[in-house]
Each structure stands twice: as structure tokens, then as C-alpha cells.
């Protein structure tokens, strides 16, 4: 495997005997956003009763045959295009054979040799705003399995086939991540892309997005080590924890002179450790072969082009545009594009005004409020037009930034638009220099000691500013206050 990333010592893990580099590759399973299953007309949805969404095909009744869901194929192509990946015009479905009660057919229909999507690349942003690339090896379509329920009876297990046959996209990365943070950042980016495309709802809690993480460690500069695969990790936190624990485990073994055995492991978040599920020797022989019930999947270029033309702006394009067109910092752009709706909200408010200021309001005040209230941006009581108006009021010098916060508070509480709040509550900034001068004169007269002090130490003017603001109820224009104070105090 070509190593495309130079070793970065800041990411090394220190062991007893020296530094180690961790190498990570991910297989992400994303449930296709579709009303029906990959090969049957049964409904897909959350919250149905056990086995209520199971067709004869899903239950693998004798003589039942799979029929490919065109919409799921479209979603996979769309995702492939969103990952800037090769769309394979000819792909094939294979059977992966194994016995388990949650797998009614006794095989999973998947794509083994010829996936629908080939190599691509995802540009991932780190917390510091810098980006790195993760290469995509492939994306293929496959069926999900059902679910076993063990806690209904002490002696029996039950099977719920609602999920059996649901369409999944397995997105396989190359081993291009070098830290647990990078792995989490990659999954976050992938999730954002999927949500932008509308091809997966990205809901980790419902298991609609889950990751298998391949972890290996090596001495910097050496060849790749033996990897272990941690199955089915379903939160960003667990992805990071699992990687950190697994890397530590491997380093300890190697430093003790041991050898890593290739195996499949599970992460136990309660015990905060990974444990062996099965070794390479115990691995199933899946006996993959082309599914004879399905013809090879052939796509017309015109159809692919049509899908391509319908793609929304992708997150990294949007980030570049926000930085270029609006002059936003990488960080602000990153925060905004992480949520498509928030990015749209920002754009609606930013058009034709100080975009950086709008971004500040959206990413700070508004986001903090939304988080505290557990609200999505589209549930915000403050529409984008109000943020725009608030920024306009600031630009027009009608209110100061301090007052703006107060205005925002009232707007949030439903008192109307920022202009209406300013009007109603008399929060208009005092720019009348006469009134400001009067207030300053009174303060100077009442505080001779402070006047003497400020002449020695001009920084102490802040105290006077504070007093003036207090006297004017915060409405005095801060620039005017500063100017008049400086001239009257002679500093």
C-alpha cells in the first residue's frame, strides 16, 4: 500500500522504548436513505414493531428472488460522485455465504470483486483548520442483516428482520489516517458529505452510520504492521477511544517482544478495552461468488451525468467559497459547513453585509443558544433576516456590540425584530456628543483623584469609559466616548 503521508512526529505515540506511529483505515457502513430495501419493496424505517417491515424476499421464503432497487443505486452513484470517485459503469453483486439467524438467506448480497464505486478522495479538515486527504478505495452496495434480541427470555433468542435487506453503502478508505482525532475527523467529514448529498441521514445513534476501524502500529519509517479490525464502532467518541486503547495494546505487546495477531476485535466502552472476537484462523470462508439471481449492474453514462448535474455544492467546495467570497477564516468556514442548514442560514444573512460579523454571530451567540436549547438551526427562533438586521444596526452605528447582545437576547425571547426591540426598549446608541460631553464633565468633576491618576497612567482611561457607559445606560457610542475623554483629560 502506497504511503502517501509523511510521518508526523506530533502524532506519534510514545512507548516505553520510543515513538510509534499508528496507521488507520476505516470501513464505514452508511445506511442508504431510501424508503424501501435494496432488493425488496419492504419499507425501511425506525420505530416499527418487530418483523413488521419484512417481505417474503427478506424472510428468504422458498422461490423468492431479489429485485434491485433503482433508487438505492442512484444514491450510491450520488455518494460516489460526492466522494469524487470513479463510478464503475459495470458492477456485480456477489453472495457472501455464512450461517447466522439474523441472515435469512444464508448469504448476504454484496459487491465483492466489482464494486459500483472505485477510488476517490475526501478532503478532511482538522480542528486547527488545516486539511488532509483520505483516499477512498471503494464504495459498494450490500444488504444489512437483521437483529438478534437476547434479553426477552433467559433461554431463547429472538430475531427481528426489519433491518434485514436494508441497503448499506460500505465506504472503504485507504490506511491514510495517523491519529484517533484524524479518524474521527474523517468520519465527521464523511457524515457531512452524506448529509449534504441526502444519501444517508448520518444518524449514529440509530446505527445508520457505523465504522469498522483497522488499526496497526509501526516504528516511524518502517513498513506497515499487522492490523486488527475493530468492528461496529458507532460514536465519534468510541471511535477515538477504541483506537487509542487498541494502539496502546498493540504497542505494549510489541514492546514486550510479542507479535500482533491479525484478528477481529470488539470495543467495549464500559471496560474501555478491545477484546478478540475471532482470529484470522477462525475467520469465515465466505465463499463469495456472483449472485446468479441478479444480472450484472450496468449504468448508462447519461444517467450518471444526470445525477452529477443534480449534485448539491459539496462541503469542501463550500468551505473554499466561504473563505474566498466572504473572507472567512478556515475555522469559521469549517464550523459553518459542518451543518448544511447552518451554512445556508449564514449565507442568507451574509449577503451584502459584513460576512465575518455575520459568521461571528452565527457561530458564537446563535450556536451557543441553539446548543443550550438543544435546537437545530432550522428550529431557531431567530431567523436569518434578524441576524442580518442586527448586523445592519451595528454597521449603521445604531447600537454598539454590547447593546447588540442585549438586543439579541430580546429577539431570542420573541420580542420581535432587532429594529423593533431597539425602538421599543430605547436602546439606540447615543451619538449626540453634547449628551456624552455632559456626562463626561460630571464624571471628571466628581472624581479628581482618578483624573490625576489617568494623567500618570493613560491606560486607566478604561475606568472613565466604563463610568460613561454606566451613566448612559450603555447606549453611548464607544468611539465618541473615547475621543471626547481623551481630549478632555488631555491624554
Amino acid at each position: 500500500m502506497l504511503d502517501t503521508r509523511p510521518a508526523d512526529p506530533s502524532k506519534f505515540i510514545q512507548g516505553r522504548t520510543g515513538p510509534w506511529e499508528v496507521i488507520l483505515g476505516l470501513e464505514v457502513h452508511a445506511q442508504v436513505a431510501s424508503k424501501s430495501k435494496l432488493f425488496s419493496g419492504a419499507a425501511v424505517g425506525f420505530g416499527a414493531g418487530p418483523n413488521e417491515q419484512v417481505s417474503l424476499v427478506d424472510a428468504a421464503m422458498p422461490g423468492m428472488l431479489p429485485v434491485l432497487n433503482r433508487y438505492c443505486v442512484e444514491q450510491a452513484v450520488k455518494t460516489g460522485l460526492g466522494l469524487r470517485a470513479q463510478i464503475n459503469r459495470r458492477s456485480r453483486f456477489d453472495r457472501k455465504n455464512y450461517f447466522y439467524p439474523d441472515l435469512p438467506q444464508g448469504y448476504q448480497i454484496s459487491q465483492f470483486e466489482f464494486p459500483i464505486v472505485g477510488e476517490g478522495v475526501v478532503e478532511v479538515e482538522r480542528d486547527d483548520g488545516a486539511t488532509f486527504e483520505v483516499r477512498i478505495e471503494r464504495l459498494h452496495l450490500e444488504q444489512d442483516a437483521g437483529k438478534l434480541i437476547h434479553d426477552l427470555s433467559p433461554s431463547e433468542s429472538y430475531v427481528d428482520l426489519n433491518r434485514a435487506g436494508t441497503a448499506l453503502m460500505e465506504i472503504v478508505s485507504k490506511p491514510d489516517m495517523r491519529s484517533s482525532e484524524e479518524a474521527a475527523a474523517y468520519v465527521k467529514m464523511l457524515r457531512t458529505i452524506l448529509i449534504y448529498l441526502g444519501t444517508c441521514d448520518g444518524d449514529l445513534e440509530k446505527g445508520n452510520l457505523r465504522a469498522d476501524v483497522n488499526v496497526s502500529v509501526r516504528r516511524p519509517g518502517e513498513g506497515l504492521g499487522t492490523r486488527c479490525e475493530i468492528k461496529n464502532v458507532n460514536s465519534f467518541r468510541f471511535i477515538q477511544e477504541a483506537i487509542e486503547h487498541e494502539a496502546r495494546r498493540q504497542i505494549e505487546i510489541l514492546e514486550d517482544g510479542g507479535r500482533i495477531l491479525q484478528e477481529t476485535r470488539l470495543y467495549d466502552p464500559n471496560k474501555r478495552e478491545t477484546r478478540s472476537m475471532r482470529s484470522k484462523e477462525e475467520a469465515h470462508d465466505y465463499r463469495y461468488f456472483p449472485d446468479p439471481d441478479l444480472l450484472p449492474l450496468e449504468l448508462e453514462q447519461a444517467w450518471i451525468d444526470e445525477i452529477k448535474a443534480s449534485l448539491p455544492e459539496l462541503p469542501d467546495d463550500k468551505r473554499r467559497r466561504f473563505m474566498g467570497d466572504y473572507g472567512l477564516s478556515a475555522y469559521d468556514a469549517g464550523v459553518l459547513i459542518a451543518d448544511q442548514a447552518k451554512a445556508d442560514y449564514f449565507e442568507a444573512a451574509a449577503k451584502g453585509r459584513d460576512a465575518k460579523l455575520v459568521a461571528n454571530w452565527v457561530t458564537n451567540e446563535l450556536s451557543a443558544r441553539l446548543t443550550a436549547g438543544d435546537l437545530e438551526i432550522n428550529e431557531s427562533p431567530v431567523p436569518a433576516t434578524y441576524v442580518a438586521e442586527l448586523v445592519d444596526l451595528l454597521g449603521e452605528g445604531v447600537i454598539s456590540s454590547k447593546i447588540a447582545k442585549e438586543v439579541f437576547e430580546h429577539v431570542w425571547n420573541g420580542e420581535g425584530s432587532p429594529r423593533a426591540v431597539v425602538e421599543k426598549r430605547g436602546l439606540k446608541q447615543v451619538t449626540d456628543t453634547g449628551a456624552i460631553e455632559k456626562a463626561i464633565d460630571e464624571i471628571i468633576a466628581a472624581n479628581p483623584g482618578q483624573v490625576a491618576a489617568v494623567k500618570e497612567k493613560p491606560q486607566a482611561v478604561g475606568w472613565f469609559v466604563g463610568q460613561v457607559m454606566k451613566a448612559t445606560g450603555g447606549k453611548a457610542n464607544p468611539a465618541a466616548v473615547n475621543e471626547i475623554l481623551k481630549s478632555k483629560l488631555g491624554i
Binding site: 417474503l56 424472510a59 428468504a60 421464503m61 422458498p62 422461490g63 423468492m64 428472488l65 431479489p66 429485485v67 434491485l68 453472495r95 455465504n97 450461517f99 439467524p101 435469512p104 438467506q105 444464508g106 448469504y107 430475531v159 470462508d285 465463499r287 463469495y288 461468488f289 446468479p292 439471481d293 441478479l294 444480472l295
Partner: protein, 493 residues
């Protein structure tokens, strides 16, 4: 009145339309015949007399009103791998011995839509795996034909042994059957009946218990070429529920029977001469050529060089697909579940499948699992697929020289039950002339053409171009006319 059960399908349909008899009368004759014969022949695993009479009465009402479909009132037998809603469907296996599907196969649904009457479900080799009907959980079907040399019970062939036997013994007007490697044509040849496997994709596989998906095709066994054409036309349709179903029109095949075959070029493949083939079969093949020549056809010697690999290829591809197709019979959701002493999940699987599947099915699942296993996949399965393409290519290479191919249907006449049970390879050789059409997806028909020295029927096979069943029916009609095969099994049951 003559015995209605001896009518051909065509004659019965004409008689029903002309109100010479009712469907109920006709159906009752068959029910009586089945009652009398089934204890000896074991052709039906489930006669459905009440259902048949109810369907017949409904047909009579439609006929009385001047309505009705192409098969209105015609009593048929249904091979027990076509799922029939509310009627037990077993595929001849213990594992499905109590399975009642809540759905109908497309093929049978087409028949009922055309007004046909179901007499019952027909015996077959377990999961269609067998050439003698001896692998059925319900016991072997007995061929109505007897050798002059011995009174031993003979096999009707397999896997559609129940279909062939019931048609030959007048226990239905015609029957559905299925053909994965010869399971329609070999039993037809062994019982003096006509059996056709259409082009792969003509008949929907929806609701047909799968053996090997890329080879399985439904088709009829009937008394005459015309009857088989009427049946096939009713059975076939494009079906969106089967992704391998061809989106093509179903031609009016009965109208092809009786057409002139003058000027058609008939391929005679030199590779279909096999060691140890009885002289009578060689002679019959020669006779077939003469008949067609007399009808104006031109004989062309051709070579299908990969023929000798067809049987081994078939016995890799079919078991491989079967090993996966039959994985669903795991005792979890329906069918047999072993209530053994096993404690683990693996025990439950193993006991259920050991108890539920017969020896031949187990043998093929083992072969199939083996050839798909890591380390063997390329050497067996991948190679078999390559050879399969060569076999198809063999046929493609001759279609510019010939319009159809004439071969014997089987390398022998019907043999005694029990004869080949100990030697699976000898049993597999039964398919030697028929498997190529399955591997290449081509239509093939077996027409009764003569009797051997012991008075047992022999068949000739015609293989046609993909989707050219029409030519095959015309030629089969010509063979039928020339052979004038009228012999019937002497009734001993």
C-alpha cells in the same frame, strides 16, 4: 363415452369449448384415475381433489358464460417445486415436508389466470436433484412403462418424474416441470411424452423453489408437441419479480406446430456419439435424420468441441449455486427444525440439515461448498464458468450453419429403480445430452421417437437458438408426424 383422461390437452380444450363434457366431469375422471393409480405409481405427493373440483366448477361457469382462458377447465398436475398458495409445497424434501406457502409462483399463477385446474402436486427428486426420482423424501415415482424383459419397476427419470409419469399414465392432461440439467427432457424420453425446456429467462423463476438459479427453467411435459406448445405459451411471461426474466413477447407457439420445415438446416454434432451408447439409440438418431431429411431438411455435420466438458462443468456450477440457494433451509423461520439434543446454534443447524436433507442433496451441497471454498474457487468454479462460456460459444459458432440441432435425448432407455443408486457418477451420465442446453440457456425439446427392443420409449432431442422455440416446435412437430409414436404403457396399475 371414451375415457376422458386419454384425451390430449388440445382435444380436451376443444371438447370443453364444444360442451361435449364439463370440466367437472373431466376433472372427476382424473381424480378417479389418480385414486386408482397413485398407490402404485406414486406420481402425486398431494392430490388436491376438492380444490380441483372447485376450480373445475368455476371453469364450467365461465365456459357456460362463453368466457374463459386458453386453458379453461383443463386439469393439470403441478411439480411440487412450484409454490402454490395455501397448498403444501415440498420440493420433494423432508425439510419442507410441511411447508405451505402464502404465495403463488408466477408460472402457476399464469396457468390459473388462463383457467387451468390443479389436480395436485407432483412428486420429484428432492430439490430437483436426481435423474431417477429416487431422491424424493416421498419415495420414488414408478414409470408406467414396463420392460418386456422384466417385471421390475422402472424409473420415470428425474427430477420431473412425477410430471412424466402422470402424463404418461393419463393422470393429468399435462404437467408443469422444471429442467436444470435435463429434468424435463430425460423423464419425457423415459415415458414416451414430450418435454420442452424453453430459453433461459422465458419462464419466471419467481415462486419456483430454486436448485441452481442460472440453470433452472420451467417447462411442460405433455402428450403431444402441440400440447407442450399450448402449455409453454401459458407458462411463460415477462416477470419483474425475476431479474433474469427476459422482457420479450411470448409467441403463439401452437401455431408453429405443423408448419413446413422444408429447407431448415439441422446440425448433427459428432461429439454426441458416446461410448457404450446402445445401438438402438444410434439407430434412432439415424432414423430421426432420415425423417427430417424426408421432410425437406438438410443435415449438416457439426462440431461442438467442448461437449465433453459439459457434464463436469454442470456438476460444479449447479452444486455451487445449490449450496448457497439451499442455505435458507436452516430451521429458523419455516420448515423442519430438528429438536435434537444439540445445545449450540451450530448443533441446531447441523442437526436440522442432516435430518432434513437426503443423501443426494447433502452430496451436492458438499460438492458445491467445496468448489466455492478459498483455495479451490479458481480451480473449480472459475474454471467451470470459463468452460461454460466456451460451450455457449460452441453453439454460437454453428448457428450460421444450422437452424437447430438433433441429438438423442438420453444415452439409454428407462432403467430399473435401484439400478444406479449406488453409483452417483453413472446416474449423472443420464444428463450427458441435455446439460449443454442448460449451460448455454438454449431451448431443448424431447420428442418420443420409438421403442427399444424391450418395448421402452426413446426420445430425440432438438436444440434451438435462444428464443427460437418456434423453429424447435415446427421441427418437433415434423418428427412427431414421422415417428407416429402412438404406443402407450400397458395399464398394470
Amino acid at each position: 363415452m371414451t375415457d376422458l383422461t386419454q384425451l390430449t390437452l388440445k382435444a380436451a380444450l376443444d371438447g370443453l369449448k364444444a360442451k361435449q363434457f364439463s370440466s367437472e366431469e373431466l376433472t372427476r375422471s382424473f381424480i378417479d384415475a389418480i385414486d386408482a393409480a397413485n398407490p402404485k405409481l406414486n406420481a402425486y405427493v398431494l392430490p388436491t381433489a376438492d380444490r380441483a373440483l372447485a376450480m373445475a366448477k368455476a371453469s364450467d361457469a365461465r365456459l357456460a358464460a362463453g368466457e374463459g382462458g386458453a386453458l379453461e377447465g383443463a386439469p393439470l398436475g403441478i411439480k411440487d417445486l412450484f409454490c402454490t398458495e395455501g397448498v403444501r409445497t415440498t420440493a420433494g424434501s423432508k425439510i419442507l415436508s410441511e411447508f405451505v406457502p402464502p404465495y403463488e409462483s408466477t408460472v402457476t399463477a399464469n396457468l390459473w389466470a388462463d383457467g387451468a385446474v390443479m389436480l395436485g402436486k407432483l412428486n420429484m427428486d428432492e430439490f430437483a436433484m436426481g435423474s431417477s426420482n429416487e431422491t424424493s423424501f416421498f419415495g420414488p415415482v414408478v414409470n408406467p412403462w414396463k420392460s418386456r424383459a422384466s417385471n421390475a419397476d422402472l424409473t420415470p427419470g428425474g427430477s420431473s418424474g412425477g410430471s412424466a409419469s402422470s402424463v404418461a399414465a393419463d393422470l393429468c392432461l399435462a404437467a408443469t416441470a422444471s429442467d436444470t440439467g435435463g429434468s424435463i427432457r430425460q423423464p419425457a424420453a423415459f415415458t414416451g411424452t414430450v418435454g420442452i425446456k424453453p430459453t433461459y429467462g422465458r419462464a419466471s423463476r419467481y415462486g419456483m423453489v430454486a436448485f441452481a438459479s442460472s440453470l433452472d427453467q420451467a417447462g411442460p411435459i405433455a402428450k403431444t408437441v402441440t400440447d407442450s406448445a399450448i402449455m409453454l405459451k401459458a407458462m411463460c411471461s415477462h416477470d419483474e419479480k425475476d431479474s433474469t426474466s427476459l422482457n420479450v413477447e411470448t409467441p403463439d407457439w401452437p401455431s408453429f406446430v405443423g408448419r413446413s420445415v422444408k429447407g431448415l438446416r439441422i446440425g448433427v454434432p459428432r461429439e454426441y456419439v458416446v461410448d457404450g451408447m446402445p445401438a438402438e439409440i444410434t439407430a434412432l438418431w439415424e432414423q430421426g435424420r432420415k425423417w427430417l431429411e424426408a421432410a425437406g431438411c438438410q443435415m449438416v455435420e457439426i462440431s461442438l468441441p467442448h461437449t465433453k466438458y459439459a457434464l463436469p462443468t454442470y456438476y460444479i456450477v449447479a452444486p455451487a449455486e445449490a449450496s448457497s440457494n439451499l442455505a435458507r433451509y436452516d430451521g429458523m423461520r419455516y420448515g423442519l427444525r430438528a429438536e435434537g439434543n444439540g445445545k449450540s446454534l451450530t448443533d441446531l443447524y447441523e442437526e436440522t440439515r442432516a435430518e432434513g436433507f437426503g443423501k443426494e442433496v447433502q452430496r451436492r451441497l458438499t460438492i458445491g461448498t467445496y468448489v466455492l471454498s478459498a483455495g479451490y474457487y479458481d480451480a473449480y468454479y472459475v474454471k467451470a464458468l470459463k468452460v461454460r462460456r466456451r460451450i455457449l460459444q460452441d453453439f454460437e459458432n454453428v448457428w450460421d450453419k444450422v437452424d437447430a440441432i438433433l441429438t438423442p435425448s438420453t444415452p439409454s432407455a428407462a432403467f430399473a429403480l435401484g439400478d444406479k443408486q449406488i453409483d452417483p457418477v453413472a446416474m449423472y451420465l443420464n444428463d450427458i445430452f441435455t446439460v449443454t442446453a442448460n449451460l448455454a440457456g438454449l431451448p431443448g425439446i424431447s420428442v418420443p421417437a420409438g421403442l427399444d427392443a424391450n418395448g421402452l420409449p426413446l426420445g430425440l432431442q432438438l436444440i434451438g437458438r435462444a428464443l427460437d422455440e418456434g423453429t424447435v416446435f415446427s421441427l418437433a412437430g415434423a418428427l412427431e408426424d414421422s415417428a407416429a409414436f402412438t404406443a402407450k404403457a400397458e395399464k398394470w396399475w
